[in-house]
């Protein structure tokens, strides 16, 4: 396979963008991406668009056509990719493989979700779980992660306070991100006193309902070199799926698809956890950040919570996690999230993250997860 680089990125602000239709969100992200790359529209051969549920959120399918047209790219190839909240990561992997294979030289990986459009977001999101055997019994998405949290607490002594530290840390990071939905710092008391959603999770353990889009442009590394771009390359891409229902997996305190995807990405990249300078982790709920760090091997099971409390995962710590603010503070337009993580990796690795810059960032990892862990993608990017 050919070595693949990212040569441009674009991302809208994440938030409640009532006045912006889905087609404009995507078109703006792509326009910003092409402008950043300084590549002409006519050079784009193909696009992969991650989107979880435009049919339910917006009553609109056939995104490959409508979004590509409104992005000014009609005539190119395009494919919509769906893997619930991991749709963006899956679109990025598909774009990466198309360039790596030699089939195309200029491919967009995009993601979009317009969640504030009048539909019942709780219902739409619940379709990422087993409709007949989980949702039918009253389980919500916060409820699934709450059951993961309860099991993790029972097995490892993880506490609500450790979870609160994840939220406070990610909001501290997100306060430095002008594109974040909630760029505001919060305190431990904000989290502790928040309205309860699904025990042991409260409102501030949950990521928000968001609108937004992100796009990155991939090309062979020689193209990046010829264009004088920072050489941000894809070192590893790992992907795994698992049973959709939490009860169909052996241990509800664990998310095995994350471990599998990470092992595959690390094996391809030829690097280990200790080599990674920072991560974007799928913190759809605070417990998810801890579980995923443990599944990927950054911490032993049960140790990510104490490490978070000790500040190891904050900017300036040993392993900054979610310098963007994560899903918690930056926002979680589900189909855009996985691509948004790659945007953050690219900007960190090319040294343009401003106040939230990770010092000496050379290797970054992005982990994007669907449902309660029914699918997961892990990507490792390097700047040369």
């Amino acid at each position: 396979m050919r070595e693949v680089a990212i040569i441009g990125v674009g991302m809208t602000k994440f938030g409640e963008l009532w006045e912006t239709p889905m087609r404009d969100l995507y078109a703006r992200a792509v326009a910003d991406c092409l402008s950043d790359a300084a590549v002409e529209r006519k050079q784009i051969q193909s696009a992969y668009i991650g989107c979880m549920s435009s049919g339910l959120f917006n009553g609109q399918e056939h995104l490959a056509s409508i979004l590509t047209d409104y992005a000014g790219l009609a005539g190119s190839a395009a494919t919509r990719v769906e893997s619930a909240c991991a749709s963006g990561g899956a679109a990025f992997r598909a774009a990466y493989l198309e360039v790596a294979s030699g089939a195309s030289d200029f491919v967009i990986a995009g993601g979009v979700e317009k969640m504030n459009d009048g539909a019942d977001a709780t219902y739409c999101l619940a379709t990422a779980a087993d409709q007949e055997y989980e949702v039918y019994h009253g389980v919500t998405f916060p409820g699934l992660y709450a059951m993961i949290a309860s099991a993790h607490m029972h097995k490892h002594g993880t506490t609500s306070d450790m979870l609160a530290h994840v939220a406070v840390k990610n909001h501290r990071h997100g306060a430095k991100n002008p594109k974040a939905q909630f760029p505001v710092e919060i305190t431990l008391d904000t989290v502790r006193n928040a309205v309860r959603v699904a025990e042991p999770l409260g409102l501030f353990d949950c990521s928000p309902v968001s609108d937004g889009a992100a796009a990155v442009l991939l090309a062979p590394v020689e193209v990046a070199r010829a264009l004088g771009k920072p050489l941000v390359t894809i070192k590893g891409s790992g992907h795994a799926v698992d049973a959709i229902a939490l009860h169909d997996r052996p241990d509800p305190s664990r998310i095995p698809s994350v471990a599998l995807a990470a092992q595959r990405a690390f094996a391809q990249a030829g690097v280990a956890t200790g080599d990674i300078d920072f991560c974007e982790v799928h913190d759809c709920f605070t417990i998810a950040e801890l579980c995923c760090l443990e599944e990927m091997g950054f911490y032993e099971a049960g140790r990510a919570g104490p490490a978070t409390v000790a500040g190891e995962t904050a900017l300036g710590g040993k392993l900054p996690v979610n310098p963007s603010g994560g899903l918690k503070s930056k926002g979680h337009p589900v189909g855009a999230t996985g691509v948004g993580q790659i945007v953050e990796l690219y900007e960190q690795l090319s040294g343009r993250s401003g106040d939230r810059q990770v010092a000496d960032a050379r290797l970054g990892l992005a982990q994007n997860m669907g449902g309660s862990g029914g699918s997961c993608l892990v990507h490792i990017l390097e700047v040369k």
Binding site: Y133, A198, A243, L246, H247
Partner: protein, 131 residues
């Protein structure tokens, strides 16, 4: 929920019918067309035992509309005596008394009252066994 789908799931919802692989004996709830363990495609119908224990649980404070009249309620993953796990509500106990290891039995109950169309749906819940 569309009615053909509801009708199709009645053997599981009302009678706890599972599939047991005739090749390797793996039990699937609901029944599967292909065995997840050995790939076998033949299964016989069995009835699940009703007793089990809570593996993990949560108290749901913000439910979907069709469950709103039941909040707060407990959701749990229950492991039955034959090792099969399923997700359900836990009823007939104060929510904060349901914890890992709580002994339960599955019972037939009304599950949802969909407010817009006045549709009532049934299935299994777990009842705490007084002990």
């Amino acid at each position: 929920m569309i009615s053909p789908r509801y009708h199709r799931e009645i053997p599981q919802r009302y009678r706890l019918e599972a599939g047991q692989c005739t090749d390797c004996g793996e039990i699937h709830f609901p029944p599967r067309a292909v065995c997840r363990k050995c790939g076998g495609t033949e299964a016989e119908t069995i009835t699940l035992p009703s007793r089990g224990k809570v593996v993990t649980s949560t108290i749901c404070w913000i439910p979907p509309a069709e469950f709103d009249n039941q909040k707060p309620y407990v959701n749990a993953i229950v492991e039955l005596t034959n090792g099969v796990r399923l997700t359900c509500m836990v009823c007939e106990a104060p929510p904060d008394e349901v914890t890992v290891g709580t002994e339960v039995e599955l019972v037939f109950r009304k599950l949802q009252h969909e407010p817009k169309w006045e549709v009532i749906r049934y299935g299994y819940k777990a009842r705490v066994i007084a002990g």
